[in-house]
């Protein structure tokens, strides 16, 4: 693995920046309804189950994990596009919501949720870029209307001024200003994603949730859009929560990386640290799946057994224990199946949720990894 990190922005390097986003014990359960009238709750998909982290001003926090691990849901809950079950989110010292858990509610703690008017103001600081540039733009609105909608909603009613603003934004994201009257279907995927970025920037936000912004694009276009996001971050001092499943992309763009598994954060560390010294068995397996462009390199992969368990019925104790290679090596300690591991710092700035994180060493990884050429599965 390359040691130079192309994603480290000089501007974001100081670690002691102020906290822009703070997420505390965020939980989102989707209720499964059933019964005769479809009213009674018969279970819940635990999409996000107690996630805490904070993002510093000007940095990029990458969020990775398999499909269905809850990373997109997490983004949408932070944006209040779907209501949280419980937990607290603070953006720029403004509490978007603070919803108590069932037990806390019984103990008398009340929920505080920003009202509609205040939330609308808060949305100026909190924007989103979606994954699919084909689905995220209204096909019946022109580029000018799409990009100008945010300013319009927030009170910029002067048509001329709005158009000037839109033209400026189009130029900023690298689109031709004369495209202002065109419709989304007339653009390529990369161009559409630029329109989506311009729309997010129209409100001059501080914080942008990028929900897999390049996954739907051609590889050749991906780098352009990533570089655009990178440039915009430096010019405008943006802070990103960058959700992705492509580990190479995350390594490129992030300052810190969080790894999610079944709705929980299992590891969070500086990007150099986590890619070189992963401390959670799941991160180890995930990183070993990154394709190596050199076919002559002998790949050492840690192959996980089985499928990701259902988030409606997650395993007890450590959620990863059903597939954990380390647990097997350590002779299946009981702790793994009974005690939910604490999300603890094993060294400053490197947190991990594993009882035996200290056992994750090059030796144990090497022993677990299969060596060889192309690996099936």
């Amino acid at each position: 693995m390359e040691t130079t990190n192309p994603g480290a922005q000089p501007a974001a390097a100081p670690a002691a920046g102020e906290t822009l986003l703070r997420v505390e014990n965020l939980v989102k359960h989707f209720e499964i309804r059933g019964g005769l009238l479809g009213i009674s709750t018969i279970g819940a998909v635990r999409a996000v189950d107690g996630v805490s982290f904070s993002v510093r001003k000007g940095e990029t926090l990458g969020l990775v994990g398999e499909s269905g691990c809850g990373k997109t849901t997490l983004g949408k809950v932070i944006l209040r596009l779907i209501p949280a079950t419980s937990g607290k989110v603070t953006v720029k010292n403004r509490v978007l919501f603070d919803i108590p858990t069932e037990e806390e509610r019984k103990a008398g703690r009340r929920a505080t949720v920003l009202d509609a008017g205040e939330m609308k103001k808060a949305r100026r600081d909190l924007q989103v870029v979606f994954q699919d540039p084909y689905a995220s733009l209204n096909p019946r609105m022109s580029v000018g209307e799409i990009v100008g909608e945010g300013p319009l909603v927030h009170g910029l009613t002067d048509k001329g001024k709005r158009e000037d603003l839109v033209r400026e934004l189009l130029a900023r994201v690298g689109l031709n200003q004369s495209h202002i009257h065109r419709y989304p279907h007339e653009f390529s995927g990369g161009q559409r994603q630029r329109i989506g970025i311009a729309r997010a920037l129209a409100l001059n936000p501080d914080f942008v949730v990028c929900d897999e912004p390049v996954s739907a694009l051609d590889v050749s276009i991906q780098s352009q859009v990533l570089n655009l996001l990178d440039d915009l971050q430096q010019e405008l001092g943006l802070t990103y929560l960058f959700i992705a499943h492509n580990l190479a992309v995350v390594e490129h763009i992030s300052d810190r990386v969080g790894v999610m598994y079944l709705g929980m954060m299992v590891e969070l560390a500086e990007v150099d640290d986590i890619y070189v010294r992963p401390a959670h068995p799941y991160t180890v397996a995930l990183l070993s799946a990154v394709p190596d462009p050199n076919p002559r390199n002998r790949r050492r992969r840690v192959i996980l057994k089985g499928d990701i368990p259902s988030p409606a019925n997650p395993p007890s104790g450590c959620r990863f224990h059903t597939r954990c290679w380390l647990r097997e090596r350590l002779g299946n300690p009981e702790q793994c199946t009974t005690v939910v591991p604490e999300f603890r710092e094993i060294q400053p700035g490197h947190a991990v949720a594993c009882h035996f994180a200290e056992e994750v060493t090059p030796d144990t990884i090497g022993a677990a990894a299969r060596t060889g050429g192309p690996v099936a599965s």
Partner: protein, 308 residues
């Protein structure tokens, strides 16, 4: 700047526009028109409908009261220049009466569809947008309305409120026919609610009303427009059936349905009297149906149009 260039991904250095695109600007409706024109039957149907509507408006205007003027001298007179379809057993100009009947039928058809679309979109969008118990309650109402035999409900409503009144017929058809539109709009709304562009509008801070009116209803309307066009055909047929049974438009007012009823009496002597309103009715229904089909294809923004 040099320093940051080094850290870039190779190949990503091209700064701006990734493609030069020289196609002319085309709005959504221009595309719709282009797709519609490709559908030959629909174009024919469009012109047929245009002719029928124009004739139904213009001819009764030009011919004044000819559609109800009886005359003993003209009874069963053959066709002439002023009466292309001859005269009936009361000496009424058949063509003038046919056009007046077409006017009544089309008016009822279009007006009933407006009622249907209004109720259907309101109920369907409310159910689909809010979901949960609102959705459940409204959809059970839809089920109840659907479970009632429509035609008999209309018969009952018309009998209750008075026969022969155009507005009663329109309201009766509207009150029973909105369920399909409501279901279509609800289904569209349920999927649109999760659509990224709707979520993006919410993330921008757009309120419920703006999200529904600006983003969701325009996108949900395509199937409704299609259903409405097909609904015109249905409504015209229902009106004809009501009038045929004597519950709808009653003579001396003219409608395609009561012209058919009257033609029944002379079926063996002058079967053409039944053919005229019958064929007109078929033409209206066919035109509306093909128009609906054409619109279905044309209104789908995912369908591409070749540029040339």
């Amino acid at each position: 700047m040099e320093g940051t260039q080094v850290t870039r991904i190779p190949g990503g250095a091209i700064p701006a526009v990734d493609e030069v695109d020289l196609t002319p600007v085309r709005t959504y409706w221009q595309l719709v028109r282009q797709r519609f024109v490709r559908h030959r039957l629909a174009v024919i149907a469009f012109f047929l409908m245009a002719i029928l509507v124009t004739a139904a408006i213009a001819i009764p205007l030009l011919s004044g009261d000819a559609w109800k003027e009886t005359s003993l001298e003209r009874i069963n007179q053959p066709a002439s220049l002023t009466a292309p379809l001859g005269y009936d057993s009361l000496g009424i100009n058949t063509f003038a009466r046919l056009m007046k009947g077409l006017q009544t039928s089309l008016f009822i058809g279009f007006a009933a569809v407006l009622v249907i679309v209004f109720i259907g979109v309101t109920v369907g969008s409310t159910a689909g947008y809010f979901g949960g118990w609102v959705d459940n309650a409204l959809m059970r109402v839809v089920d109840i309305v659907l479970s009632i035999p429509t035609f008999f409900l209309i018969l009952m409503l018309v009998a209750f409120w008075g026969t022969g009144n155009v507005w009663v017929i329109i309201i009766a058809i509207g009150l029973t026919g909105w369920t399909t539109a409501a279901r279509l709009v609800r289904a569209e709304f349920l999927s649109l609610r999760e659509a990224d562009f709707v979520q993006a509008a919410k993330a921008l801070g757009a309120g419920d009303r703006r999200v529904v009116m600006r983003h969701m209803i325009p996108s949900a309307m395509a199937p409704v427009v299609v259903a409405a066009t097909l609904g015109i055909a249905d409504s015209v047929v229902v009106e004809a059936a009501l009038s045929f049974l004597g519950f709808g438009i009653t003579p001396p007012e003219a409608s395609l349905g009561n012209m058919l009823t009257k033609a029944q009496d002379y079926f063996y002597r002058n079967p053409l009297l039944a053919w005229y309103p019958g064929i007109t009715l078929v033409l209206v229904v066919l035109a509306a149906s093909f128009l609906g089909d054409g619109l279905r294809d044309a209104l789908d923004p995912r369908q591409r149009v070749e540029t040339n």
